[in-house]
Symmetry: C2
Subunit: 322 residues, 2 copies
């Protein structure tokens, strides 16, 4: 089933130890859409400026991504410049121009009204909540956030968290949101804030899903299974070269949620596989600059990498003698 995603579509100027790119297509909604598009149809809600041309649009069209909710506004698109010269784990922001994004007021096209899967990328939690409430039929809502909203807009964020099924953040954000240094205690605390599940991304160390007690309970329409252990871990694929970490987290989210939306039911087994697919899509994203690698994948490439992740984590192995 389709996912509606709301978030940024932007231009990024990126410098990494490998090289740099000027004004390449970026933004959380872009990375998410491209990654998720290999699993399920995607609908975008975002705003761009007059600098968003047919060339950028064709990147979405080539993946059959629905742009009915992409607003064109006078002015320039969101622009971000940053570098990873100090660390591949954290970007140093050089410039952020919100431009048309400053007045973004998400409009949901009528054709999106039947949305059952909703992804709220990292934007103002007030807008996240507005979109969530504009799509009351959404059965599974997954969202991201960042330090800025946790720090400076905590009340608005807490109101949004109360309406999330799955929150996807990284280690630092989990620590900041919970005030707990211990990852397990941080997760337990965050699961009292609304989300039924928390996925914490660890960069090169993969990701951990923490499941709240009612996630696969009888109250959830698309679940029909017994309890599962409350923690699941997916590795990251060891990569020889990380060309550009930009968008890794959003691509992870795209693989994760895209896979879930593609399945007939949301079950514990689906959640585990979704975490692996998230890791797979994150690993592709960083192999080239911007969205380059995500634009031309095949499902066979994706599944080969999924098999590799299984291979490097499972005690039984396809290469064991029979």
């Amino acid at each position: 089933m389709s996912i509606t995603v709301v978030g940024s579509v932007a231009f990024d100027s990126i410098t990494t130890p490998v090289g740099s790119r000027e004004r390449c297509l970026g933004g959380a909604a872009t990375y998410f859409s491209l990654a998720a598009s290999y699993f399920t149809p995607i609908r975008v809600v975002a705003v761009v400026g007059e600098d968003f041309t047919a060339a950028e649009e064709s990147v979405f069209r080539a993946r059959s991504i629905d742009l009915a909710g992409l607003e064109r506004a006078p002015g320039k698109s969101f622009f971000w410049a940053g570098n990873y010269l100090q660390s591949l784990s954290e970007a140093k922001t050089e410039q952020t121009d919100l431009n048309v994004f400053a007045d973004f007021n998400p409009q949901i096209p009528t054709s999106y009204q039947d949305t059952q899967f909703l992804f709220l990328a990292n934007i103002d939690p007030v807008l996240q909540l507005r979109v969530r409430q504009a799509l009351p039929g959404a059965q599974l809502v997954c969202g991201d956030t960042m330090n800025y909203w946790i720090h400076d807009h905590r009340d608005a964020l807490l109101r949004t968290l109360a309406h999330l099924d799955v929150l996807l953040i990284n280690d630092t954000e989990a620590r900041l949101l919970s005030g707990e240094a211990n990852p397990l205690r941080a997760a337990k605390k965050i699961l009292t804030l609304g989300p039924r599940a928390l996925v914490v991304k660890h960069g090169e160390y993969g990701a951990t899903a923490y499941l709240g007690p009612d996630l696969f309970g009888s109250d959830l329409p698309y679940s029909a299974e017994a309890t599962v252990p409350p923690v699941f871990r997916a590795p990251a694929l060891p990569l020889d070269t990380v060309v550009d970490p930009t968008g890794a987290g959003d691509s992870f989210a795209g693989g994760f949620f895209g896979y879930i939306a593609s399945q007939p039911a949301f079950t514990p087994a689906v959640l585990r596989r979704a975490l692996f697919y998230g890791s797979v899509m994150g690993s592709f994203a960083v192999e080239r600059f911007g969205t380059e690698r995500l634009q031309h994948l095949t499902r066979a490439e994706i599944d080969a990498r999924f098999a590799a992740l299984r291979q490097i984590t499972h005690l039984d192995s396809a290469s064991d003698p029979k």
Copy 2:
């Protein structure tokens, strides 16, 4: 089969956010021996001073650890004091008194001469090499080291690495030893220095084994299997409370190498399970101060935790509906 371990037996004074302990039994060889003793018989080569009493000795005896190679020297035992108040990931050393350890010249008892499994805990690489050469019958040699030896005694360390089968270090040490920030490239480089396999410990994120091309090749007497993927990852168990991180790495090594030595053959499947057992023993070690938790485990507790690690990493789950 028995493992001979050479390393420190010491007294530690430890402060963590949970509390503190004065002069509790510690040292790399101690943690390693206790953890490994749940899998296979252990023989210790170490030196202690006159402050090592029947009380400390009984901790080893209770686990049937062979102390024929434990030298008693005039003076005091190795003493270390440190705290984890800034970070549970890294100790701040307050005091190190080598005492009798300063003149340690490992003596191998005749009864150890048939040693087939040798663990070289983190000591001067010159001593590591001497012990390795004094036990030429050892078929599998596993060793640890630390930043100090990598930095200030690189040549001696490189001579020792040439005689190791498995090197067990942490992320920082791997980076320092290889000069590579990328973990995969670091591993590839280290595998050219001698070890047939490298195990890199990631603390709360578990550990990764990197396998050299000849590890399970036909030249290794106790291996008879086909090639395996060159990387395997084990998670760490998420823990609510880390009481004392001291000895976690040595306990990991004990579980890892103890399990390998307990098996009839060193195969890819055994290596994978060994990494899980390493993680299991590391998780026990940190749950109480010093060696408290490692002294009174049962194999059932160990296997239950092994099952939990499998559960949180494997796509198929025992709790899935049949």
